[in-house]
Amino acid sequence: MNRRDSLKALGIGTLSATVLLEACKTPDKNTPETAETIAGGTPGRQPEELEREKKLLADKFFTEHEMATITVLANIIIPKDAKSGSASDAKVPEFIEFIVKDIPDHQLPMRGGLRWLDVQALNRYGKTFVASSSAQQIEMVDQIAYPAKAKPEMQQGVAFFNRMRDLTATGFFTTEMGVKDLGFAGNSPNKWVGVPADVLKQYGLENLVV
């Protein structure tokens, strides 16, 4: 079977990525899975996987106050800019709520870190982190966002913020908005013929033979 027949076998008659991806899309491909979309079952998923996922989606881990703090922090880490929206535009806080249930190792450092941050803010500004002014929030974040120059007494905050930065970035760049922002061009049928000529030239690799 040649490549064109391969694609026919997938249910499409052309190399068009758009058509292929339409053919492969899930009931609503632009929204993360919910208990409802999972309930119908998915090919290639084992019953215990679907069961577990339904339970995680129904459970709630963070309090409203914690979610509000996560939202403020996520938008400080990934704000809207000329190219794409903010972390909360990409529903990063909702992703973080899910992933701490899915990977419980995140739970204690996240919950404890959020509390650590609130106590710092209360001592400095007399208010919780979310209730502090934007300028105060940034002043606080500046104490923990730069591992190499943070004060020793801020180390726990640095560890928390590193985790928060990682989860925010991963949550953002794995959404449709984030993938588009990065310019990822794959996950679509093509014929790989090697590095484009202009790129080879850019790096002086035209003559390298493997």
Partner: protein, 577 residues
């Protein structure tokens, strides 16, 4: 369960095959195509990549964005099962470590593997350093079967004429990606050979095969391929074999033991059906085990009878011994010269585009044998873990204006860093020979059973200085290659981690537990993988391996299984089995 009873089948099959991975799948394929009536028992559910693969799904279609919370290699990976299966434990002895990856599904672990398809060479079968026993067969005995496997399954690669890295019958290899060109330069400068990869992916249509499609380069072989463009035992062997009308497959059938008569010959198999939890017995003239090196040893050791008091095919006492997995150690970094690189689709194939076969002579080294290196990196589809550790990278290079940048941070400038660094990462991993030792073994745990009441395996495995020195050599090589490429190296693994040497089992190349040999007092199987003690019993997975080279096991499993299946056909004609 007051009504629990053993249901005995009246049918006698010509052959019952246990396990549907590379070994079991190939044996079933060859036998069914020759007109033999075969029953295949698989411990997991039916799996057809065409319907069940998660290929081409986007990260946001997974609530966990592809994280490995339920599947060890990520949410879209094809493998069911993993290191731990609920209700099916295994244990370890003397505080040693072993990790056992099991895929309970049609096609077994071939649905998700890396498709790196290397032949073992003449020196792998007949080593000259005296450290390990030679195989009872040579490369020349296996070569015709490697050739047939190449033609039947399809493999890409290039003819290199390397003595211990034998060439095959190759489709064209995929061209290297950008990062791989930098790797090639850096490695060659370090004296490390780099050649195109060898993988079982159809970079072009497979001559004579109308059921499988040519690769469309999504790079997602690990999810298994909906158009059968890569090798899985499900898509390429079992499903085609069903079409012959000679193969019956029973899924969710967990084999308990092999049944034998008073003369010690195999008469069939008993299993528990996981769907109705009833006990079944099936009869067969010949039994073929392809359940995996661990599981096949477990079945034999659990098949005790008056004729086989130490377990079936185990009068030598070697069953379970000589267990060995490949060594593994890895390193990574990023290439500052690739910051802000141009975007294009470089997914390529889901196997390696380039690799380094073992390139040194051992005489001056402090470890035996050798390893090969697999490489990766580039503009991958983001998934869970993307962007992790930016605070360890973004302070190491100047910002867009050429000014030093404080590591970590937040806001628009951080957001921009993720774009700048995208596609700059490189990784490399060594896969090496671990010496087969009698003291590394699996046995039946006398105290523990699984949820079906089947006694479980207990592992005992230690690395020695041979493997640790090899891992150190890998780390030193990786450092030099990364340095030569101009890469900024991540953390180098040192003595505190045994130089990054992965725990035994982690590379999922475990082999050797039912070794073959000419001497029945020192081996369980003869050179055709037929049990010395039971002539109608054969083993076709990686258990018969005497000593693995640094080559990934699958291609050799396929070749040996085909060879054994053809031997069974010949013996049937002579009415010997």
């Amino acid at each position: 369960m007051e009504d629990l009873q053993i249901k005995k089948s009246g049918t006698t099959y010509d052959v019952v095959v246990v396990g549907s991975g590379a070994g079991g799948g190939m044996a079933a394929y060859v036998l069914a195509n020759a007109g033999v009536k075969v029953l295949l028992l698989e411990a997991g559910p039916f799996f057809d990549p065409q319907k069940d693969s998660q290929q081409l799904r986007w990260p946001w279609e997974s609530a966990r964005r592809g994280a490995s919370s339920t599947r060890p290699f990520g949410d879209f990976d094809a493998a069911f099962g993993g290191w731990d299966i609920d209700g099916e434990p295994y244990t370890t002895k003397d505080k040693t470590e072993f990790y056992w990856f099991r895929s309970r599904m049609l096609g077994g672990r071939t649905n998700h593997w890396g498709r790196i398809s290397l032949r073992m060479g003449p020196q792998d079968f007949q080593p000259t350093d005296g450290l390990t026993d030679p195989w009872p067969i040579t490369y020349d005995d296996v070569k015709p079967f490697y050739d047939k496997v190449d033609r039947l399954i399809g493999i890409y690669g290039t003819k290199e004429g390397l003595e211990n890295e034998p060439d095959g019958i190759f489709l064209p290899p995929p061209k290297p990606r950008l990062n791989e060109l930098f790797i090639t330069q850096g490695a060659r400068k370090a004296g490390v050979k780099v050649i195109p990869g060898r993988g079982s992916v159809l970079t072009e249509a497979l001559p004579g095969n109308k059921d499988r499609g040519a690769c469309f380069f999504c790079g997602q072989c690990g999810r298994s391929c909906k158009i059968y463009g890569d090798f899985s035992a499900s898509s390429c062997l079992v499903i085609p074999a069903i079409k012959t009308g000679n193969l019956k497959v029973i899924t969710n059938a967990m084999v308990r033991e092999i049944l034998t008569d008073k003369d010690g010959l195999a008469t069939g198999v008993s299993y528990v059906n996981k769907e109705d939890m009833q006990e079944y017995q099936v009869n067969a003239k010949t039994v073929v085990l392809g359940a995996s090196a661990g599981e096949s040893a477990r079945i034999l050791l659990n098949s005790k009878s008056s004729a086989h008091p130490g377990g079936l095919a185990n009068s030598s006492g070697v069953v379970g011994k000589y267990l060995h997995d490949s060594t593994g150690s890895s390193a990574g970094g990023f290439l500052p010269q690739l910051l802000d690189r141009k975007r294009y689709n470089e997914d390529g194939v889901g196997s390696v585009h380039i690799y380094s076969p073992w390139w040194l002579d051992n005489k001056k080294l402090n470890f035996p044998r050798g390893y090969h290196i697999e490489y990766g990196g580039g503009l991958h589809m983001p998934s869970y873990g993307f962007g992790f550790g930016m605070h360890k990278m973004n302070g190491m290079v100047p910002d867009r204006d050429g000014k030093p940048k404080e590591a970590g941070g937040y806001g628009a400038s951080l957001k921009d860093d993720y774009r700048r660094f995208y596609g700059t990462q490189v990784g490399m991993a060594g896969r090496g020979t671990a010496i087969a030792r009698a003291d590394n073994y699996c046995e039946i745990d006398p105290n523990v059973v699984d949820k079906f009441g089947i006694p479980v395996l207990r592992f005992h495995y230690n690395w020695t200085t041979d493997e640790i020195n090899q891992a150190k050599h890998m780390q030193d090589t990786f450092e030099e290659v990364l340095h030569n490429m101009g890469a900024i190296h991540g953390t180098k693994q040192g003595p505190e981690t045994n130089y990054g040497l992965e725990a035994p089992g982690k590379i999922i190349h475990e082999v050797g537990t039912i070794r073959m040999g000419d001497d029945p007092s020192k081996s369980a199987l003869n050179k055709y993988c037929q049990a010395h003690d039971c002539k109608n019993l054969f083993v076709v997975d990686a258990a018969p391996f005497v000593q693995q080279g640094d080559k990934n096991a699958t291609w050799t499993i396929l070749a040996l299984s085909m060879r054994t299946a053809e031997y069974i056909l010949a013996q049937r004609k002579k009415l010997n089995v």
